[in-house]
């Protein structure tokens, strides 16, 4: 159980951090398209601001999504154990897609996370769910080959 909890927490942390950085890039790209200068130091300070302030929000969404998606992935992986890793990756991806859709239905605004207004941003953010699913299964149920890998 401890292994599951640690794997879950690390998966959420990784997804929230990567998701935050991704959405910052989409927001800044929209400004660059409007000819707004975004020098490197401004980009870095914006990433840091969003990591501190946005990633906890996305982390909460990931917790809600993965707490449903990962057990489902586990159930499906019992049917086809050889594809276990892919079930977790797919469940994380689909979970975030569906989760963001549900959030948008419940929230008063049309789209809560601005970066997901277009398909590219939505798929990129869903990919952070896939990453979280991969990290969870990699830590919770590593393959014999992965266990044999050297840590450093």
């Amino acid at each position: 159980m401890l292994r599951i909890c640690i794997a879950f927490v690390l998966a959420v942390l990784a997804g929230a951090i990567v998701g935050s950085i991704i959405q910052t890039q989409f927001n800044l790209a929209a400004l660059v398209e409007l000819s707004v200068p975004i020098p490197f130091d401004v980009r870095i300070s914006t990433i840091i601001h969003d990591l501190i302030h946005f990633s906890p929000i996305f982390g909460v969404i990931l917790v809600c999504v993965l707490i449903v998606a990962l057990p489902l992935a586990y159930l499906f992986s019992r049917v086809t154990p050889v594809a276990e890793r892919w079930w977790f990756i797919g469940a994380g991806f689909m979970g975030v897609l569906v989760g963001l859709e549900v959030v948008n239905l419940l929230a008063p605004m049309p789209t809560l996370i601005a970066a997901t207004r277009g398909w590219a941003g939505l798929l990129a953010m869903a990919a952070t769910g896939a990453l979280a699913g991969w990290i969870f299964d990699r830590l919770w149920h590593p393959t014999p080959q992965e266990l044999a890998e050297r840590v450093l």
């Binding site: 927001n27 400004l31 398209e33 969003d50 302030h53 946005f54 996370i113 601005a114």
Partner: protein, 374 residues
Amino acid sequence: MKGSLRLILCSLTFSLAAVANASDSIRAEVIASGLNKPWALQQLPEADAGWLVTEMGGRLLHLAADGSQTEIHLDLPSLLVSGQGGLFDISLAPDFAQSRTIYLSYACGGLSANTTCLARTRLSSTPPYSTSEITTVFTALPLRKGAAHYGGRLVWLPDDTLLLTLGDGFDYREQAQNLSNHIGKVVRLQSDGTAPADNPFPNKAGGVIYSYGHRNSQGLVYDAQRDALWQHEHGPRGGDEINRLEAGENYGWPITSYGIDYTYAKVTPYQQLPGVEAPLHQWTPSLAPSDMALYDGSLFSDWQGDLLVTHLAGKRLQVLSPADSGWQVKHNYYPDGEPGVRLRAVTVARDGSIWLVTDGPDARILRLTPAVQP
């Protein structure tokens, strides 16, 4: 038939028993209650003719001097009532006394393709009022998906052109910087909805754009004494603004803002940029300004020339006076005492009293006067 439209609502509360707010030295009378999501209030020019009230659901009401409410039949073309969409503002034409023409802004279209529309119609001369000859004179383009951020405030300029604020549709914020459409703009129209020749961008978006870079503006007043146009708009999480509108200027959304997104992510790293008009006052955290009036009455003599701003989330009326670099809050008035009530609209009546409209279902109209008359 017109008589059948006269609905003396049972829920009407016409209480002239004033509720004094001792702490503010302001007397508040409940003029009407039981309104369903009212948005705007317009006094009719004839003595004792009463008021017109819009409700977001599409109802236009006549509020008579005795406090009775009568629905005025109104059939707005393609009205959309959803989310933040519905019937918004009402404004009398400058020649209303002769033409009886009124203008109405509203959300139009369907959920997957909608926008802000402007219609005009004629109001009959005597009560019970009716409308006739309704036509849509302006449709903001392009149509967009969702039901948020329509703007919708109407103000006439001294040259008899009409300003209409248009929101960014929430999901289309970058378009507020795009001069080829009407999203996130203030447009200036002639009375027939066409573009005046002296608008700042005659060759773009039908020539109607007056200013751009707006998020969702629901407050706009023309200040004849200062020959200035004061506007406010909702920021996201923080960054509500008061601006002095000038033709052709960029007011920054979404490339500058004092606010951040609802998710706490930055919309933009910049609060100010060259070529962008900085706000004269900004509210962080947001109070959600919903309407604005310029006080030019005699009852509140200390407030002459001040701006009255109602707030939704802020649940108060604010009085702002001119300061060196913009506007400063001079007075907060909380209806029913703190924490207050969400307020949707404010208007100064001809007698100098201030009329407030509360927000949401079962809303009220309040009349404010000094507790001690001057």
